[in-house]
Symmetry: C2
Subunit: 112 residues, 2 copies
């Protein structure tokens, strides 16, 4: 489950289709997850991948500045370049402001 | 890939952990996806589930009114009830405003 976070906060929704050449991908992915989690403003990350090479990684951030700093992290820039050249056929990145969040227990969004 | 949509638009990020009792789940899930896609303001839906019963469904909508109407759809209310009683151990729902979107081709967010 997503950790409990209190809106407003931000998410980067990275939806991707992998290529057949995943050499080095698993190591880089694990390293990036660790590196992201040490960034200022990092709130969490979740990844899901189906058997057909499609997947999504949602990373959560305190604000847009935190997202910008992560995008420009030098090691992350190298990973992005490799991703484009080798690991991904296609991807979409959506930057989202989470305005409301609730779960099975709370059931309903907080009243506005 | 996510269909091309022009921000701003909204997403409902439904992150869930299933139970072991998935009787009726696949049929209901397919029916809900079809029903959602006929709602006013529906922009798309994508689901990913890992082998460990964790998954995410992201549905995309034109505005908050469209999300509210879908949440209150009578058939969807029935599905939500069954989900809570039978199919899900836990879930989190996050309502997000997508402010920026780009892809492998466009590479960078539009200048602000």
């Amino acid at each position: 489950m997503a950790p409990k976070r209190r809106p407003p906060y931000y998410a980067v929704i990275f939806t991707s289709t992998q290529t057949d050449d995943l050499d080095g991908y698993a190591e880089m992915s694990a390293h990036m997850e660790k590196l992201a989690s040490n960034q200022t403003g990092f709130l969490g990350i979740e990844s899901f991948r189906s058997l057909d090479k499609k997947g999504v990684t949602i990373s959560y951030w305190k604000d847009l500045n935190a997202i910008r700093a992560w995008k420009e992290n030098p090691e992350h820039l190298t990973a992005q370049q490799l991703g484009k050249q080798q690991w991904y056929q296609d991807y979409t990145i959506e930057i989202a402001k989470i305005e409301t969040a609730y779960d099975l227990q709370t059931d309903c969004p907080p009243s506005e």
